[in-house]
């Protein structure tokens, strides 16, 4: 089926299978930051934003994304570098496979989390798994990012 997708602010026409999921479509279009992990909507490495909401792109039919704004890490390069800097500064980035998905979720925190308490942040990020670490470093990085970049702004 032919479909027009708005990806990172650019309209792109492409052909997809009727039951294709957004993860496969995005990767086929060269957006390789979007990773395939569990492929069942559990691990969060495939997280992208659709109409400003984080979604698991492995469990989201591409046909649903028609007429909506899709955002991947390629579309927020400046912010991603800043967030990534805070993560790596804490030594939290090991294999790096979960980082693009995690950064998309962190990027959306200011629009979705009212108070930046540990509990609220953890509840929001619970859908992003990391198999290398114990999340401590990520939490330090996220909190510093929110305090120094988001609150200051």
């Amino acid at each position: 089926m032919e479909v027009t997708l708005n990806i990172n602010g650019v309209n792109q026409k492409t052909r997809v299978e009727p039951g294709e999921v957004l993860l496969d479509t995005l990767r086929a279009l060269g957006l390789k930051s979007v990773k395939k992990g569990c492929d069942t909507g559990t691990c969060g490495v495939c997280t992208v934003l659709v109409d400003h909401k984080i979604i698991p792109s492995c469990s989201y039919f591409t046909m649903k994304a028609e007429g909506k704004e899709i955002l991947t890490i390629e579309g927020i390069e400046k912010d991603a570098r800043v967030i990534g800097g805070y993560i790596t500064a804490e030594g939290a980035d090991q294999c790096g496979f979960c980082t693009p998905g995690l950064i998309m979720s962190i990027y959306s925190i200011p629009y979705n989390v009212k108070d930046y308490s540990d509990a609220a942040i953890k509840k929001y990020l619970v859908g992003n798994l990391c198999r290398c670490t114990g999340y401590e470093g990520q939490m330090r990085g996220v909190k510093k990012y929110l305090q120094e970049v988001i609150d200051e702004y």
């Binding site: 089926m1 299978e17 009727p18 039951g19 999921v21 069942t40 909507g41 559990t42 969060g44 997280t47 909401k53 984080i54 979604i55 698991p56 469990s59 989201y60 039919f61 046909m63 649903k64 979720s105 979705n112 509840k123 929001y124 619970v126 859908g127 992003n128």
Partner: protein, 262 residues
């Protein structure tokens, strides 16, 4: 799931006709679980253009469109303020935020998932389901009946109910090993136990006893004999029996607390 075709009808009657004209078709709400099935389907009918994603709150009722996502149920301020946050409590541990942004209440009901966290409180609160063709049917009846090709449009619940939801999970966002919903409306009590691991059951006998009795131990004896529990990879029968007592006790305390607040 392999789909051979994908349609987004713009009216309910069109969706209903498509669904019944193509025997080998499925209705797609959020699509989160649809794709996990390993079969080939000739047509997927996506309901997203039917404007079924609103919540209307009147003086005495709450009406939730079938396409409302679990994340909206979790974060809806007025809904949770007026219903003792039962929707927040019953949705906030279903997967991550990502999943809850796509999974819908309609999909959760029509999937009839035995592990569902949202079905027990809806059952306990006597939710009414509005179907396009067959009209209004209670959730309790719907879960007993065989599958019919109809389209769920909204879920309606009476307000002024005191419903507590309790669950036990091994990790924050895993499926419940057991869950319990206890509801009270005046003298009327209704207790539901889900993820037994079989599908959610209404504890009718126990609910009757709740009206005149406040000895948790005595009520639990009736509950233990009424609701069969089993074992699966999430937990054994004995473990579930211990959980049922604990969760029921917590739910009871919470409902009593809600009652003294009003």
């Amino acid at each position: 799931m392999r789909l051979l075709n994908y349609e987004k009808p713009t009216s309910l009657s069109e969706a209903y006709e498509l669904y019944n004209a193509t025997k080998d078709s499925v209705v797609i709400a959020g699509g989160a679980y649809a794709r996990l099935q390993e079969r080939t389907i000739s047509l997927g009918i996506d309901l997203e253009k039917l404007k079924l994603d609103t919540i209307d709150i009147t003086i005495d009722q709450v009406s939730i469109g079938s396409m409302v996502t679990l994340r909206v149920l979790e974060t809806h301020k007025q809904l949770n303020q007026e219903m003792n946050a039962v929707f927040k409590k019953a949705t906030q541990q279903i997967g991550g935020v990502q999943l809850r942004n796509i999974a819908t209440i309609g999909g959760s009901i029509c999937g009839r998932y035995p592990f569902s966290d949202i079905i027990p409180p809806l059952l306990a609160m006597d939710a009414q389901l509005y179907f396009f063709d067959s009209g209004i049917i209670s959730l309790e009846e719907y879960l007993e009946e065989p599958f019919e090709r109809d389209i769920l449009t909204k879920i309606v619940i009476n307000k002024n109910q005191l419903c507590s939801f309790q669950c036990f999970k091994k990790t924050y966002k895993e499926f419940s090993v057991l869950n319990v919903a206890l509801n009270r409306k005046g003298d009327y009590w209704k207790l539901v136990v889900g993820a037994r691991p079989g599908r959610a059951m209404v504890a009718r006998e126990t609910s009757k006893y709740l009206k005149n009795n406040d000895s948790i131990d005595e009520i639990y004896e009736i509950l233990r004999n009424e609701i069969p529990l089993g074992s699966n990879f999430r937990g054994g029968k004995k473990f579930r029996q211990i959980l049922m007592k604990e969760l029921f006790g917590k739910a009871y305390q919470e409902v009593v607390k809600y009652g003294s607040n009003t």
